[in-house]
Amino acid sequence: MDFRRIEIIFLIVFFSLDIWLLFSLKNGQQIVSSSNTTTSTVADMRKRDISFGKLDSKSGTAYYLGSRPSSTLANNVSHLRNQEVQYDSEDHKLDSSLSNPISITKSNQKEKLNDFLKKESNVLFGTKYKYAPQLSTTSQIVYAQTDQVGELYDKSGRVTFDVENKRVVGYTQTYVDDLMILHEKEATKSEKDVISSLYTNSEIPNNSKITYANLAYAKLTEAKGSTIYIPVWFVTIQNKDSKVNSLKKVNAFTGNIIKSSTTAATTGDEDSD
């Protein structure tokens, strides 16, 4: 009889041990699944009426780049035709007024300007520039210099077309001659990381749309007469009601948000709206 009681007590003890073991095993697995925080951020954003396309979660690599001011534009001015040109040797900037302004519409502006850039006598090294919708406004269409390593969203390498009454009347050009790789490549934050971090830092308001997210090089600092560029995520956020755009910038190496007060220092001008 006593032996039977012992058996029952053992049964209860082992049964509760099993339950505890099962529980702790399950707990361990829950810890694994709870690590997926970025997915929940994405779901949370959708709930708050923030719309966006598919976010790339793959992180890439990028460099620290450096350049020195060059007078390449000044040396090649003689190649240009049908325009009046002024060269600012301090800022290494070329200002041009076109003899025959180009009429454009919203729909054909990109195509027309791409054609215009193809000819060396229109714009020097024109094929090295690419349309940058995030930097453009209604009165200025910006083309950013592109290199094998990527695009340069900085005032030291761009063509800015001036638009007056739906006509392109002239342009301002700067050019970076020789982009040097200063350090071996380093990992950059993915698009998904950056957007999640912008959201958790309350930089993306409700009821808005992420229209562009683009990784480009932007100026970090100047030292010893050279300009240093780092990869920066440019994220354009549009308010769904007012259709007003705002441009956010995130350092792609560190993931730190570059605050708007430092906008001018980073892209070289005020192009955030």
Binding site: R4, E7, I8, F10, L11, F14, F15, L17, D18, L21, L22, S24, L25, G28, Q29, I31, V32, S34, S35, T37, T38, Y63, Y64, G66, S67, R68, M180, I181, L182, H183, E184, K185, E186, D193, S197, L220, T221, A223, K224, G225, S226, I228, I230, T254, G255
Partner: protein, 437 residues
């Protein structure tokens, strides 16, 4: 009556077996169980920005014997040693077994063999540590041998081993490798743009990398960045600042947190020392030694991508980290590198420099050509130091502050020689220049 007793007995047996199975499952899966916890910790934003452990504990030299000569290779657009390690993560490496020990002649043949790549660590690490870095359970289970070179042959299909070699006792271990191909590694090796002829020579104090011809080295400039003392106290004292007692003696600031923690910051030298009298446990195995050192180092300087483990002294439980530029260490006048961490039963001590390299800047100095290592040794002999006195010889970068702008420094290459436990430049030992004239 009997029947119900049988049921109780059967249930008891089932319950006992289930508990055994469950305990077995939990115990054998501790790695995964803990990995889950680790993932949870590493997803926080601050951790994501930390330099990963396999970048800090990483080989700094890649030496390629291509059939003709042995060359030190580097690519200044891509860290090839990191890329090779990434390739190795997919290899299935078996348990290493000792091939030989204390045989200098055999050792020399091993490290000079043709058609081989070797990854050289600045200091010896251990098999279990490599297992942790490459996420290989076989290596983590293996005996914890020390080694500082990983060697594998490239065009020998019969040789299905990787070799781990230890300079300090001329021991070589080998481990069988499956699912490995040399093609991606050769591809990386061919992409290099720094390529220096070397010869690995055995001298009294160990294996030295000899540059057989004069070497042309780039100079670099960097913007330096430092932190305020308050940023260190927040990171190190992890408690509210009300209990912090500050005292100042000229330009030396001392911060005390009770009797347990103290930070001394020398503003003249830009050097700091942190004492933690609460951390009195000494690491019991090498893996935890390296892990704890790494955690402490990144807590001091979390985003320094150039930081590498430079020296590990298991006997005195001391770790030294230095910043590296393209495979070469940076020396400052201070002896301890960038960070030095010492564990002891009386507490841990951390010595570190405030300023670290932050942003590379195009250098306006031209490349420097250094003499070959053989002529450096001749010069040292002329100055009265025999090759047997030399404990170590390395090409490294010297940190020079620019007078007009202290935040930008120039890094110039030179030979560093360790004699009587002191690192000095060739110029300091001999009063002669290390540059080729």
């Amino acid at each position: 009556m009997k029947f119900s007793r049988l049921i109780v007995q059967i249930l008891l047996v089932i319950a006992v077996i289930t508990s055994i199975v469950l305990s077995f499952y939990i115990w054998t899966n501790t790695a995964r169980y803990q990995a889950g916890r680790n993932i949870d910790v590493t997803t926080t934003d601050t951790d994501k920005n930390k330099i990963p452990i396999d970048q800090v504990i990483s080989p700094t030299q890649v030496i390629w014997q291509d059939g003709n000569d042995q060359r030190l290779i580097y690519n200044n657009e891509e860290n090839i040693s990191m890329s090779i390690q990434k390739v190795m993560k997919d290899w299935k490496i078996g348990e290493p077994k000792q091939v030989f020990k204390k045989d200098g002649a055999k050792y020399q043949r091993m490290i000079q063999q043709s058609n081989a790549i070797q990854l050289v660590y600045p200091t010896a690490i251990s098999v279990k540590t490599l297992g942790y870095l490459l996420d290989s359970s076989n290596l983590r289970r293996s005996k914890d041998y020390s080694f500082d070179r990983i060697i594998f042959t490239l065009e020998n299909k019969k040789d299905e081993y990787i070799y781990l070699a230890n300079d300090s006792d001329y021991a070589v271990y080998r481990a069988k490798v499956k699912d490995a191909s040399s093609e991606p590694i050769l591809k990386l090796a061919r992409k290099t743009n720094i390529d220096l002829k070397v010869r690995l020579n055995l001298l009294k104090h160990g294996v030295f990398t000899f540059y057989t011809e004069p070497i042309k080295m780039r100079t670099y400039s960097y913007v330096m960045s430092g932190k305020k003392d308050s940023e260190y106290t927040t990171a190190l004292f992890d408690s509210n600042s009300d209990d912090l007692v500050t005292s100042q003696n000229e330009n030396i600031y001392t911060y005390n947190y009770g009797e347990t923690k103290r930070l001394i910051s020398d503003h003249n030298k830009g050097e700091l020392t942190f004492y933690d009298y609460t951390d009195t446990s000494v690491p019991k195995d090498k893996l935890s030694f390296f892990q704890r050192g790494y955690n402490k180092a990144v807590n001091l300087q979390n985003s320094v991508s150039n930081l590498r483990l430079y020296n590990a002294d298991w006997d005195s439980k001391e770790l030294t980290y230095r910043e590296y530029v393209e495979g070469f260490p940076i020396f400052k006048k201070s002896q301890f590198g960038s960070i030095r961490i010492k564990f002891s039963r009386n507490g841990t001590t951390e010595y570190f420099l405030n300023k670290v390299l932050e942003v590379p800047v195009p250098s306006n100095q031209s490349a420097t050509t250094l003499k070959s290592t053989t002529s450096i040794l001749k010069g040292l002999e002329k100055a009265g130091y025999s090759p047997n006195d030399i404990q170590d010889i390395q090409v490294g970068y010297q940190r020079e502050s620019e007078a007009d702008n202290e935040d930008v420094i120039d890094l110039t290459p030179t030979y560093y020689i360790k004699i009587d436990d002191h690192w000095k430049t060739y110029n300091d030992w001999t009063n002669e220049t290390a540059e080729e004239e």
